[in-house]
Amino acid sequence: MLRFLLRRVTLIIPTFIGVTLASFLLIHAVPGDPIEVRVGEHGIAPERLAILRHEFGLDQPLWKQFADYEVQVASGHLGASTVTHQPVWDEFLTLFPATVELSVCALIFALVIGLPLGVIAAVKRGTAFDYGLMGVSVTGASMPIFWWGLMMILVFSVSLGWTPVAGRIGDAFFVEPWSGFMLIDSWFSDDDGAFASAVSHLILPTIVLGTIPLATIARMTRSAMLEVLGDDFIRTARAKGLSPLRVVIVHALRNALIPVVTVIGLQVGALLGGAILTETIFAWPGVGHWLIEAIQRRDYPVLQGGTLLIAVLVMAVNLGVDVTYGFLNPRIRK
């Protein structure tokens, strides 16, 4: 187990270099640099531009800029935003809980609904419920997030007025950001309606962000269950005289979860990617929103540092999934 963990951690290093290189090249392929973007249409004296560029190291050849950045990251510094001059790490820490809160809620939403739906579809295979559900889930999995988010806002916020349009909590509330998680902070807040307000702000983003994972999990659960339900040990379980519910949950689902957990792990990456769009639609002050702004402002350190941190997170989650896998599947446990 220790060797396995060690090997996985070692693999992180080449991934780091790959991720930083990719984000570095992509952002430099876009015309304009932080200075030009800040100057805007007003223009600036060429001498002044050269001085500023030199300050940020932008006059260096590309390979030098990249090498400098790598050295800087290796020594533990992600640098500071070219816009706010705050350290990237501090900004990330402030915004990250909002993204985690949204992603976790979306994942829970996807699991709580997707798993049972997949199980029911497998048990009732070939019925109208099965076909209907699978049809809906293809639609769900191929739904463009931005369109889906706008439609939800249009229907539930604008037409029906059930939920707020954007933000994490109503303007009337001030909640001390003690943990950074609005649900927790508002729960302990003295304001009576704060928690309810936080929940109502979370509903739509959660649904929008959770839709694709929900559809994927439901489909994966269904196919894994179908495979397991045909196995010999299911027949044995039924031959014991167990109730159909016990056969499905205790015997079949437990086995079907093994592939499903892998998919859930992969969904975390998709979830963080989706969070960027969802946060932009709902003006959710999280990491995704922050990265989009960084792109617009050509804020190289934020963009590269943020991408790197998200990559680390995805890798950590996948490592966690692999460890969980061992607990679920006794055959690969020693």
Binding site: D231, F233, R235, T236, R238, A239, K240, G241
Partner: protein
């Protein structure tokens, strides 16, 4: 009254009749062997007894009684109370028949708990006792073992322990030794016969091994293409088979073919869904076939020896 009594059992999957009008009787405390080639409907008829034929299979029978209880008239819940407790089954592939995610001790205990066979506090002791009875050494240390950590033979012992956990009156064993090494086959078979005689339960043994039949069975039922073609007490069947198919099976035994340069075989194959012959189902492969065999299906005749043939062996044709 017979322990298990079935008349005219039919199991259909769509338009395919896997079991076609089979009668089956198991007396309390006897060993019945059901023999036949793959696809002859042996397993399916036993699964029907267990109530394990799922969609799209359809089961019907004129009579299907266990200990006087009409099995087909029971609610699913009442049927489940019976299955696993009074009628238990052991399957062919021990390793895949156990759930890979749970320790074997837990899986046996689950049977005990499902039928409240022993008080909760005694479940663990009872599982150890069962594992001991099926010949697993150091049973207490095997409780936490997973199926993949045990050999096929050990897993089959676990399956048997699970099946006998609630003291069934009928144990159905569906080719319990087919997937095992030859050396282990004998051990498992001896174990089954031993448990059967000690506990006085009935044993319905499905096999395609005539050697196994000769050694264990009190009575034999021969299945062909979903039909029962012959039924006799073991000794009579081996000395005086009536149906040509039974005779052909016996002739194909290596022990009986001593001296012959080639082992006799039965030409052709068991008919499938699309090539079921008219008349006697065995007629395309039968050496004694005559015109009537190709036009009309022979009924089941006889008292002590029942068979389905117009021109049986051992009688003047």
């Amino acid at each position: 009254m017979a322990l298990l009594e079935i008349r005219n059992l039919v199991v259909e999957f769509g338009r395919f009749r896997a079991v076609d009008g089979v009668d089956l009787t198991v007396e309390a405390g006897e060993i019945l062997c059901v023999v036949g080639e793959s696809g002859s409907g042996k397993s399916v008829s036993m699964l029907a007894v267990m109530g394990l034929i799922g969609w799209p299979g359809k089961v019907s029978a004129d009579v299907m009684r266990f200990d006087g209880i009409d099995l087909l008239g029971l609610s699913p819940r009442a049927r489940r109370k019976l299955v696993g407790r009074d009628i238990a089954m052991v399957f062919q592939e021990p390793t895949t028949s156990l759930n890979p995610c749970y320790p074997v001790g837990w899986q046996i205990a689950e049977s005990l708990r499902a039928h409240n066979a022993v008080p909760r506090a005694q479940v663990r002791d009872r599982v150890i006792e069962l594992l001991d009875q099926v010949g697993i050494p150091a049973p207490a240390s095997r409780l936490g073992a997973f199926p993949h950590q045990l050999s096929g033979g050990m897993n089959q012992r676990v399956m048997i322990a699970m099946a006998i956990s609630c003291n069934p009156r009928l144990l159905i064993a569906d080719e319990p030794t087919t997937a095992l090494d030859v050396t282990i086959q004998k051990q498992i078979l001896d174990l089954l016969v031993d448990l059967q005689s000690k506990r006085g339960m009935a044993l319905a043994l499905i096999t395609h091994d005539m050697g196994v039949v000769a050694e264990t069975a009190h009575r034999v039922q021969v299945m062909y293409a979903g039909q029962m073609v012959e039924e006799q007490p073991t000794e009579a069947l081996f000395t005086k088979p009536h149906h040509p198919y039974t005779a052909a099976l016996l002739a194909a035994l290596p022990e009986r073919a001593m001296g012959a340069s080639r082992l006799p075989t039965i030409p052709g194959m068991v008919p499938g869904i699309d090539d079921r012959p008219v008349g006697c189902l065995f007629n395309p492969r039968c050496g004694r076939v005559q015109e009537i065999c190709r036009t009309s299906a022979p009924p089941l005749i006889g008292e002590a020896a029942k068979f389905r043939c117009y021109f049986p062996l051992g009688e003047s044709a």
